[in-house]
């Protein structure tokens, strides 16, 4: 049933992620609150788009515009919020990233008509299997090494690295997602990056 037009500006101002509200919005969306669902869309679509530019397989881009693809993935993710289980704040963005990568994999499978044996949770490995503009920009070998190194980090450090290095979130934004202050977020990210570099050294 049609309920009414709600301008998004009534929900929250444009701009950065609101503090500590993702979990609340997820709860609201799960409970059928359209406003909460819409707010999640509004919040995460630009992030995923920014991340996805150049990260989607080159082979997809002839028919699937990045924006369409990301929108579809995000909407599907919101449709299956019931499957999202978070044991800590900040996981939702990583969850969305995984959904997007799964979507990419499904699309590749559909178009290539040959199955791929990839663990659904192994998003790092999935990403490494997909030829992207980034691979072309920095070299497939270096990118694969990065993905492998990220995969060796603890889950929390993976999330921090991805939020900061891949999604480009600011420290206040990361703090809003994981809790704590911006300074604390910076310290955590720095440690995760240090660990990542050492893992990268090992991989090489």
């Amino acid at each position: 049933m049609i309920a009414g037009i709600r301008m998004h500006s009534e929900l929250q101002p444009e701009g950065a992620i609101a503090l500590n509200s993702t979990a609340a919005l997820i709860r609201g969306a799960r409970g059928g609150d359209d406003r909460a669902r819409h707010a999640l869309l509004k919040r995460f679509l630009p992030l995923l788009l920014r991340w996805a530019h150049g990260r989607l397989p080159i082979t997809l881009r002839d028919v699937n515009d990045t924006q369409d693809f990301v929108q579809m993935a995000l909407i599907k993710a919101l449709n299956q919020l019931g499957t999202f289980r978070s044991d800590r704040p900040g996981s939702f963005l990583i969850y969305l990233r995984r959904i997007l990568l799964n979507q990419v994999r499904d699309e590749l499978r559909r178009r290539r008509a040959r199955p791929r044996t990839v663990e659904l949770d192994d998003t790092v490995q999935q990403a490494a299997e997909i030829e992207t503009h980034i691979e072309r920009a920095i070299g497939a070998e270096k990118f694969t090494a990065y993905q492998t190194a990220v995969g060796k980090l603890a889950k929390r450090q993976q999330e921090l690295v991805i939020m900061r290095l891949e999604f480009g979130l600011s420290y206040p934004e990361i703090a809003a997602e994981v809790g704590g202050t911006a300074d604390a977020a910076r310290v955590m990210v720095t440690r995760a990056v240090a660990k990542l570099a050492l893992e990268l050294e090992e991989v090489r």
Partner: protein, 545 residues
Amino acid sequence: MSGPQDDEVRRQREIERLARCVADDEPLSADADHEGTHFKAFADLKDVIDGFREVQQRFANRRSPSAPSFQFGQLEVLDKLGEGAQAEIYRAYDPVLDQFFALKLRRAEFGVLSSDFLEEARHLARVHHPNIVRVYGAANVDGRAGLWTELVNGQSLENLLASNPVLSAHDAIEIGTKLCDALAALHTRGIVHGDIKASNVMLEDSGRVVLMDFGAAQRFRAAAPNTVMIGTLPYLAPELLRGAVHSPQSDIYALGVLMFRLLTGTFPYTATDAETLSSQHDASDPRDISRLAPHVPSHVARAIDRAIAIDPQRRHRGGAAFASALRPPTPIHTKTGVAVAIALLIAAGIFAGLAWTTNKTGDDADVKVGLVRETANEGRETLQSGSLVSLGDEIAVEFKSTYPAYVYIFGSSENNKATVLFPILGAFPANPLAPGTLHHIPGSIDGRLVDWQVVTEAPSEEIVVLVAREPQPDLDREIARLDRANADPATASIARGMSKLVPAPEILTIGNPYLREVLAKTRLSTADDKIRVWDFRLPHTQPLR
């Protein structure tokens, strides 16, 4: 001197410094004392991060992402696809149906009443056709009217023409015939589109041609005169400029203009304002399509000329007629299935050695045979002797008998060809036709009533109706075999051509030599000589303009 412990502390500090540089997006600089310790790993990591930023920036410059901007009822409105004078078009998502739509929202400032705006949805809801955009819903929400349709992924014909101003004849005909089909579906339901033009036609990525934007559509039988003129100037039919209301004929005109443009890259008339255009309509013929585009087949040029005739009555009598005229002028046209060349039968020796004599016996009161023509506005028109028929006319036989009748109908044209028009495989009714019922022949296929249609230009044509009381196994066998070879129940009407109606003489003299030969050689099964034959001869109207 420094011990191993101090070295480890310095190493940790260096790692932290490098990590902070990477994390903060700062340039990396090597510490002279520890160069090479871990610097290479951080430098590689920095390269990866810089790669992320570079590619993201590259794509961000190409297209700025747009987030969902608002909610319209249950629809999540994602981004704007375009806008017109009366409405804005958005991509929207329905989470309940898990489907994307094109949401058309009335521009509040334009002043169009919501009820008028939503009339478009009501028009669309009546029509289900693969070449017409499908409507999924409409609502008036918080004072703003909107309707949502399927989201057609592709480009408009206008965009295509921007990069490719002249299409090949093949492509233009393909597009044109699809639009003709769409118009036929609309007109059958009493709706005119009212604004056929390149920007209102989408070419889906799959290749489907989709007629869009029914904002100007109206029920033409109920349209009031002197309403505000709606449409796009080069596509406006002359009568519209004189104050007439939109009609199927004005849609045909607009489609003719569009076809003209697809094939020539220009419009039939050069005027850029209504007054000049009207003057040009009165004073001159349109540009010569054959001269502008010599690659256009002559029958296509003629079909377009007919479509853009000044006199609405001289245009094609609907989309199906226009479509038929655009197709190659094959003498036997099997648009839906069972027009069979008797000439081919003869060539194959099917009737060789058969003996049959035509005669006309029996009581007229037992059988009634009449020809009717479908008209766009007035239902069926009974064709009288001497009635003229035109390319595109849709014609049927109305038949009634007092006994179970086996009916065979043959068509012919002046080019020494002939067709079997009835019986039709897969159609209803089939032989024998039940007595006491007024049958519409050719009948219906998949529940859809079909007619024969005049599809070729010719001076005159001929129809022969044969009615028997008994089965005719020779004819049945041959026709059935050919039906299976030619039937195509997916399409709609049956092609043929006709001309002046002439009552059959008592002793038949079939005009068409091929058909005469066929009937003369065919042995009919008859125990009581109650076989009757009607021979109708029909001249075409002369070509237009």
